[in-house]
Symmetry: C2
Subunit: 247 residues, 2 copies
């Protein structure tokens, strides 16, 4: 493997210089060659370069600085609007106002997003995914004028790296891969898999900073809390209703 | 860009020879470097190599021949089971039994899947995505013994190409990319975007084979029908309930 897959890291700080349009379009075109269900291409990519638009998007991403600092912000959307319009214009009745179709379109959008990121990194660019997209899809819809049939599923900030962060830890491969059948995790397996992560200095720091007893509590009590997850689940389901994917 | 992003095609016919374990593990390891929400790695990959297991999986994929003919079948799953177990073992209360958490885990799984595919293609392997995974997630859960907290979101067949198919058509880049704001499609834009696709010989063939008037009708009346989408939406929502992601 020649590419950057194995050495990659997420980049959150970017140089001031822009990404040339010709380069960006080459990267986006690479993305469009990703697999898509039945070649329907039920996704759209919104390119944000304008500073004022980045300012408007930022609150939806809890004002993480990458949104306004990156030269390019890409919002990847599940999009049946274009396909539906084509169907109606061709005497065909689209039946894509349902949850399965949302998942189909979300999968399309995510495969494109990841190919765009892989292609960008091969060009020396750095990227960061913003998981906040599914939290505040309603606000993003408003800022980007997304019509019915369109739901943002992820956002990527992209620019020339102004930092080369340490590669973060990952679980051992056998922690995420199962051979033939899912073999459920015993307590001893869990201890083994998470031992290295739990021993890391940075993670030990997060425990003491947050006055917690375990790293897992940093996740459940600080970073990804039940009450937030439940609140934003409601928001996202409302968005799916409003955009016509569930009734 | 040196890689195969722009020249890739989906491969559905494979040579008889196997994929070496060392190569497959290198490809899967590349996949694990993909971005993951909060470094939680809330996904699992089930590797199917055993012929009997492929036979059992095949009906869930409407017996498409790739499932039994490919040396390797990979099922990518949204997986909060491992993370939940870790939390409970560390005096932390996981709050991931909701729809937002399912989407988080599904996104993780899909970014890994696409990196695995890109890495495999760079090694000369061919891949095909099976969209049938979201249709028959219930059957796949049964065959692969997936516990609560785990939902299959996509499947990839992989092998050494025994064919080099034509590259399929794609919409022009401006058909899927929006600059700054979503600019909704006018009837004239739809005509322009779909003109090339509709003029292709293969697509004209599908219209006459199916006794339809337009290519769009081949999609709505034959390939992706409203009644099927609605039926499988129900199945998938039931799966999310059963696996603990919606109540």
């Amino acid at each position: 493997m020649n590419s950057t897959f194995s050495t990659r890291r997420t980049v959150r700080k970017y140089e001031g210089r822009d990404i040339e349009s010709i380069l960006l379009d080459r990267i986006l075109t690479a993305g469009t060659r990703a697999s898509t269900t039945g070649n329907m291409q039920v996704y759209s990519i919104i390119v944000t370069r304008d500073a004022a638009m980045k300012e408007r998007l930022a609150p939806a991403h809890f004002s993480q600085p990458m949104v306004t600092e990156a030269p390019v912000v890409l919002t990847f959307c599940a999009d049946f609007n274009r396909f539906n319009k084509w169907c109606r214009q061709r005497e065909a009745s689209p039946g894509y106002d349902n949850f399965l179709s949302f998942m189909t379109a979300a999968i399309d959008a995510l495969l494109v997003a990841q190919t765009v990121c892989n292609a960008a990194e091969e060009e020396g660019l750095g990227i960061c995914y913003l998981g906040t997209t599914t939290y505040n899809a309603d606000k993003i819809i408003e800022v980007l004028d997304l019509p019915s049939g369109v739901v943002p599923v992820t956002t990527v900030t992209m620019g020339w790296p102004a930092e080369i962060p340490e590669q973060v830890d990952r679980l051992p491969l056998d922690g995420v891969v199962h051979r033939e059948r899912y073999r459920d995790y015993t307590p001893a397996m869990i201890d083994d898999l998470y031992r290295e992560k739990e021993a890391r200095k940075d993670n030990l720091g997060f425990i003491s900073e947050n006055n917690k007893k375990t790293l897992a509590q940093v996740f459940t009590d600080v970073r990804y809390r039940k009450e937030d997850n439940e609140y934003f689940s409601g928001v996202l389901l409302d968005v799916l209703r409003k955009q016509g994917f569930i009734s």
